[in-house]
Amino acid sequence: MNAVPELDPGLLAMVEANAWTFGPNATALRVLGLTLRERVAPEDFWEPLLAGCPRMAPLGYWLEAHRTGGVPVEKLAGDFLRREALMVGYLDRLLDKAERVLVAGHDRELEQLWQIDGGWREYRHLLLDGAPNVPPPGEGCDLIKGGPRIGAPFTFRELERALDWAEALVLSGFILHRQNLLGPPQLRPLLLSARDQVDRVLLTTTNERRLTLGEGAPREYREDFRPYLWQQSVTHLVSEWHDGRDGTQLGWLPLPAEILAGQLGETLAPAAR
């Protein structure tokens, strides 16, 4: 294994900005690939990255998998991509009847969703506001700019109009991460209004996280994955929000039997088994 030198703060800032703009999973996968190519030890490389780039939470999750789960680094990317593909397929089924889907946040799994979609469904982004002097996450990114099935994005000011338009709302898991600071000011009105106006609110999450709202730290390595259905929890979630940040633990969607039975493969689902 090659030694890892100290990383420059400017470089860490760029990695963190990429995680903000393109999503943590997409960015972490690139780091994972580089780790393999450069033959460096993940402990040496990822720990300083995690310390300097808090949004790179997937690396923390994978590091746990490597350390405590004994998963070789070479298998992590394959596992992730397989879980992602399964989740996206499942998400597609859950969105089956929706023709107009509003998307908040962005990451790799949404890009995969556009690719498997049959073409009749239309997506539009809700551009969340960033911190002062920070552009909204994903602004300018091709995923959001528009395309054959991706309509012009709504800004957060157009929230009501966006929800009137939408039949379903998909939240990318990364927007809940504590580093993204998209807590009460934006999530509260978003969820409160979504409860009444759209048929389904789904949260995509490819990694197991402690999903108390506002927290997003990787906690333990579990080989399962599921989209969350928030429809039942929205009221509770919003009303219980307070400074202590112990909001609501949201419920898993039950995994379909055929996925449990066949598709997870050998490296997946100790928890599911």
């Binding site: 990429n18 690139r30 580089l34 450069e38």
Partner: protein
């Protein structure tokens, strides 16, 4: 009395513009109001004569080129080019720095350098910072990028205000600028690179993992932040049309300002939402340039410039080499103190007086090279300096002081002045 008054107003205004670049239009307007009032009351610069000194062709060229710069910048093409260089260099500073200098030079030679710097610097600074470039080296590289943009601007007829002014006041064609100015500027770009390389004492490259991480992050950006072809293609097509129109000026019936205006209008018409782009015309810059014309007109009306020109000719005894060197040194010195725009506007009448003493358009090349040398010397001698300093502060928190700029700027100014004199003398000798 009149001369002293006009000179004091113009000097105070140019100093204030240099110190407060963000308010340059307001300062220039106040100074012009004073100048016009004094000139009209004393009768040496009546209003009708004053307004006749504003060159509409120059304003039209500036506005037209400005539209192209805005469209290219918003299309994402500049950032794309910048990332392409950084990825191709794989983050190595010894490739990255000259690559960025060359890109800045090339883009600034065709489009206004301020727009180029606004768009390029954030990506360039981010990349240089990410590969571990230290504070001092980063500041010096930033200064070098500003100077490279000045060099680019000086290379062509449409790159910067001084050359547009010279070209339109004398009717010098586009290709003459390329033939005369571009070789000099390319040579000076090489001098600049040597200066910055020696100044930073070579470079310590970042370790391979860090370079690999930078390249990965830039690749990710390149994948998702694509060039908006709906903007880029019409702008590119019409800009090529503009260049063709300028290159073949003698073969078409239209003067350069009409070629530029026509191409800009066609570009706007071809863009999505043309009405939005039509409102993005840089009126503030046009207003500022108009004020510079009035400054120059006011000074010329006092007759002081003719006296200064007569003095220079007498001092140099009509020797073309001494005259050209004197003009270069005078332009460099004045520009270093009062910035490029006002100096060029003021020195044009002097250069015109030297027309009969120098062969070809030598007086204009000497003036342009002198202004280039002066504008590269201090933080305030070109508008690009303060703007680059602001971008550096915003992105990295580093302050670029007057002294920081001067460290490389003074050496560049001196070498550029000497290089310009040597170049002009060589062209005088060998054609």
């Amino acid at each position: 009395m009149e001369t002293a008054l006009v000179l004091i107003v113009v000097m105070l205004a140019t100093l204030a513009i240099a110190w407060l670049p963000a308010r340059k239009e307001a300062v220039a307007l106040v100074a012009v109001a004073v100048l016009l009032s004094v000139g009209h009351l004393h009768g040496f610069f009546p209003a009708d004569k004053a307004f006749a000194s504003i060159s509409l062709p120059v304003l039209l060229i500036l506005l037209s080129i400005g539209i192209f710069a805005t469209v290219f910048a918003e299309s994402g093409a500049f950032e794309r080019a910048c990332r392409f260089i950084a990825i191709a260099a794989r983050g190595r500073q010894r490739v990255l720095v000259p690559g960025f200098l060359l890109l800045t030079y090339l883009l600034s030679s065709l489009l206004p350098n301020l727009t180029c710097l606004y768009v390029l610097l954030p990506v360039m600074l981010g990349s240089l910072r990410a590969v571990g470039m230290g504070d001092q080296a980063l500041k010096q590289t930033l200064v070098a990028l500003v100077i490279a943009s000045n060099l680019g601007g000086a290379s062509t007829m449409i790159g910067d205000f001084p050359n547009i002014l010279i070209s339109r006041s004398q009717g010098i064609p586009f290709m003459d600028f390329i033939a005369w100015m571009m070789p000099a500027c390319v040579l000076l770009l090489g001098v600049l690179y040597l200066l910055i390389w020696r100044g930073n004492g070579g470079r310590r490259e970042a370790p391979p993992v860090a370079l690999g991480l930078l390249t990965e992050m830039l690749r990710q950006q390149s994948r998702h932040l694509r060039v908006d072809l709906r903007l880029f293609l019409p702008a590119c097509g019409t800009f090529l049309l503009l260049l063709a129109g300028l290159i073949f000026t003698g073969w078409n019936p239209f003067p350069p300002e009409l070629v530029c205006l026509g191409a800009a209008c066609l570009c706007i018409w071809l863009l999505p939402e043309p009405e939005k782009w039509a409102t993005k015309v840089d009126v503030a810059s046009a207003l500022f340039i108009a004020c510079l014309f009035l400054f120059a007109g006011g000074i010329q009306a006092t007759g002081v410039l003719n006296r200064l020109a007569g003095f220079v000719i007498e001092l140099c005894a009509g020797d073309p080499r001494l005259l050209s060197a004197a003009l270069i040194v005078l332009a460099a010195g004045l520009t270093a103190g009062f910035s490029a725009g006002p100096t060029t506007a003021v020195l044009i009448p002097i250069a015109e007086t030297l027309k009969d003493q120098l062969p070809g358009h030598l007086e204009w090349w000497a003036l342009s090279l002198g202004v280039l040398a002066g504008s590269s010397t201090t933080l305030l001698s070109a508008t690009a300096g303060p703007i680059a300093a602001n971008l550096l502060k915003r992105q990295t928190g580093l302050e670029l002081s007057y002294g920081d700029f001067l460290r490389l700027g003074l050496r560049s100014g001196v070498w550029f002045t000497l290089g310009a004199i040597a170049y002009v003398w060589a062209r005088l000798r060998f054609g």
